[in-house]
C-alpha cells in the first residue's frame, strides 16, 4: 500500500489509464478541429466527438443530439439556468432550487435575482432531502425552472428526482439536475426521471478535467437555451468554442467504462464504505452521520467526530486525503452551508469529515484509514477541553462561551 491515500473522490478523481490511452492520439496525430468540414483531419476529429457524444448519451438514456459539450459542470449549470432564464423570461421569472445545491447553481441563481428573477431556495429536512410538498407549493404560474441536484457533493444524499421530474412535467416547468456526483456512480435515466437538462463533469468520473456536458432535451418538450457565449455557433448554437476533442474522447470513454462497471463498482464501494462506517462507529463514541444513509451515493460517508475540530483531524491523518466541513478548511471561513441547511449545529459542522471512496481505493486502504482516524480522534479528544467537559457531564449547549 502506498501513501498518501486518496479518498476525496467527490472533489476529483484520478484519470483512468484506459481513458488516458483513448485520449492520447487526439493530442498528437489526430489534432484536427472538429469543425473543419473539408479535410480528413477535421473528419477524424468530428468522428471522435460524435463517438463521445454517443457514449455519454448511452449512459443516461439520451439521444446523442441532446448532448452539448462544455468546459465542465460549472459551465453546464450556468448555461442551463441562465440559458433557460433568458430564453423563457417572457413566460415567467421564477426559479426553484434548494439550499444544499452546489455553488455553481446557487451563485448563478443569486446573479439572476439581481436581474429581476425570483428564486425560491427550498430548505431541506434533517436527512438532507427536500420536502416534496414544499416543492409542490412553491411552484407558481411564473415558475419556469426547477434545479435540484441528483446527489449532493458533501453528504452524497440523493434527492427524489423521479418525483420532482414528474411534478415538473405535470406543471409544465423545466427540470434541471446537477448530476455531477451521480452520473457514472448510480443509474441515471433522463427519460425515466423526466429530466430536461442535466449537468455532467468529466473529472468526477475518472475522466479529464476541463470537459463536461449538458444534456438538453430535444423533444417532449424541446428545450431551448439562450447561448451564454457568442462565437461560431457550435453545439447547435448553444455553446460556441472549438471543441476540446481529447477531452471529449476522454469524457466519452469514462462514461462507457462507468456504464460497464457501475454495478460491480458501486457494490464494492458500498461495502467498503459500510465497513469504514461500522469500524469507526464501533471504536468511537459520539460520532454522527450527516445526511440520510438510505438515500445516498454508495461511495460517500460524511461523519462528525464531536469535540475534534476538522482541520486538526486532517493534520493528524495527513497521509490520507479527505476533506472537512470545518470553517478552517473553507475559503469562506464559514462552516459547511450544506450541513447548516440540515440543521447540524456549527459546533458539529466544524468536526465533520467527508470520505469519498473511488474506483482505485482498496480494502487495505480503507482499513488503514479507519485505524488512523480512530487513533487521531482519540488523541485529539485527550487534547479537547470540550470532550473533558462533556465527560464531566457539562451541558455544552448551556455554557456561556467567552467568544469574541
Amino acid at each position: 500500500m502506498k501513501t498518501p491515500i486518496y479518498m476525496d473522490n467527490h472533489a476529483t478523481t484520478p484519470l483512468d489509464p484506459r481513458v488516458l490511452e483513448a485520449m492520447m492520439p487526439y493530442f498528437t496525430e489526430r489534432f484536427g478541429n472538429a469543425a473543419s468540414r473539408n479535410h480528413s483531419f477535421g473528419w477524424q476529429a468530428e468522428e471522435a466527438v460524435e463517438k463521445g457524444r454517443k457514449q455519454i448519451a448511452d449512459l443516461i438514456g439520451a439521444s446523442p443530439k441532446e448532448i452539448v459539450f462544455t468546459s465542465g459542470a460549472t459551465e453546464s449549470d450556468n448555461l442551463a439556468i441562465k440559458g433557460v432564464a433568458e430564453m423563457y423570461a417572457e413566460r415567467g421569472n421564477h426559479i426553484i432550487t434548494a439550499a444544499t445545491e452546489h455553488k455553481a447553481v446557487l451563485d448563478t441563481c443569486k446573479k439572476l435575482e439581481k436581474h429581476g428573477f425570483r428564486v425560491t431556495y427550498l430548505p431541506v429536512k434533517g436527512d438532507g432531502l427536500i420536502d416534496l410538498d414544499m416543492l409542490r407549493e412553491a411552484i407558481t404560474d411564473k415558475t419556469i425552472l426547477i434545479s435540484i441536484m441528483r446527489a449532493n457533493n458533501e453528504i452524497g444524499v440523493l434527492q427524489p428526482i423521479a418525483e420532482i421530474g414528474r411534478m415538473a412535467r405535470e406543471r409544465g416547468v423545466l427540470f434541471h439536475t446537477d448530476a455531477v456526483q451521480a452520473v457514472g456512480k448510480i443509474p441515471v435515466n433522463v427519460e425515466k426521471d423526466n429530466i430536461d437538462l442535466m449537468s455532467i463533469s468529466g473529472h468526477k468520473i475518472y475522466g479529464p478535467k476541463g470537459v463536461g456536458a449538458l444534456y438538453v432535451r430535444r423533444k417532449n418538450p424541446r428545450v431551448q437555451l439562450t447561448a451564454q457565449m457568442d462565437g461560431g455557433g457550435h453545439e447547435r448554437g448553444m455553446r460556441s468554442g472549438t471543441l476540446n476533442v481529447p477531452g471529449i474522447v476522454g469524457l466519452g470513454e469514462a462514461c462507457e467504462l462507468c456504464g460497464k462497471e457501475m454495478a460491480e463498482e458501486s457494490a464494492r464501494l458500498g461495502a467498503l464504505r459500510d465497513k469504514l462506517r461500522h469500524t469507526l462507529e464501533s471504536a468511537l463514541d459520539e460520532v454522527y452521520i450527516n445526511g440520510s444513509m438510505e438515500h445516498r451515493l454508495p461511495n460517500n460517508l460524511n461523519m462528525s467526530f464531536a469535540y475534534v475540530e476538522g482541520e486538526s483531524m486532517l493534520m493528524g491523518i495527513k497521509d490520507i486525503a479527505v476533506s472537512s466541513g470545518s470553517a478552517c478548511t473553507s475559503a469562506s471561513l464559514e462552516p459547511s452551508y450544506v450541513l447548516k441547511a440540515l440543521g447540524v449545529g456549527d459546533d458539529l459542522a466544524h468536526t465533520s469529515i467527508r470520505f469519498g471512496l473511488g474506483r482505485f481505493n482498496t480494502e487495505e486502504e480503507v482499513d488503514y484509514t479507519a485505524q488512523r482516524v480512530i487513533e487521531t480522534v482519540k488523541r485529539l479528544r485527550e487534547l479537547s477541553p470540550l470532550y473533558e467537559m462533556a465527560k464531566e457531564g457539562v451541558n455544552l449547549k448551556k455554557v456561556e462561551w467567552a467568544s469574541r
Binding site: M315, G316, G345, L383, L386, E388, L396, A402
Partner: protein, 136 residues
Amino acid sequence: MAYSNKVLDHYNNPRNVGSLDKADPNVGTGMVGAPECGDVMKLQLKVNPDTGVIEDAKFKTFGCGSAIASSSLATEWVKGKTVDEALQIKNTEIVNELSLPPVKIHCSVLAEDAIKAAIDDYKKKQAAHPVEQLVS
C-alpha cells in the same frame, strides 16, 4: 495550506497538555472561544502566591493545528514568568514564533486572551480568598 515546522512540532508533541485543579485558589483557569466558532482554549496556571511566579501551566484546545500550537506555546512561555510578565505576552510574538499565516492570526489572539483570562481568574480568586493566601 502548508504548516510551519514549529506548528507541526507543537501539534505532534503538544507541551503541557492536561488540567489543574480548578478549585485550587492558586490556580487560574481561562476558557476562551466557542464550539460554534471552531475553537475553544482552556489554559490553566498555577501561581506561587508568595513570589507571583507561574510554576505550572496546562492547556487543552479544541481547534485547528495553529490553535493547538498557539496554546501549547503559550503554556511554555508563561512558565517561570511572574503574573505581570505573563500579561505582557503579545499575540504578535506568537505569530512570529510559529510563522502563522494571516488567516490563523485569530489563533494567536485567542492564546493571548486565554493567558489574560487565566490570570484574571487567579486574581479574582486571590481577592476572594485572602485568608487561604496567607495560610499557603
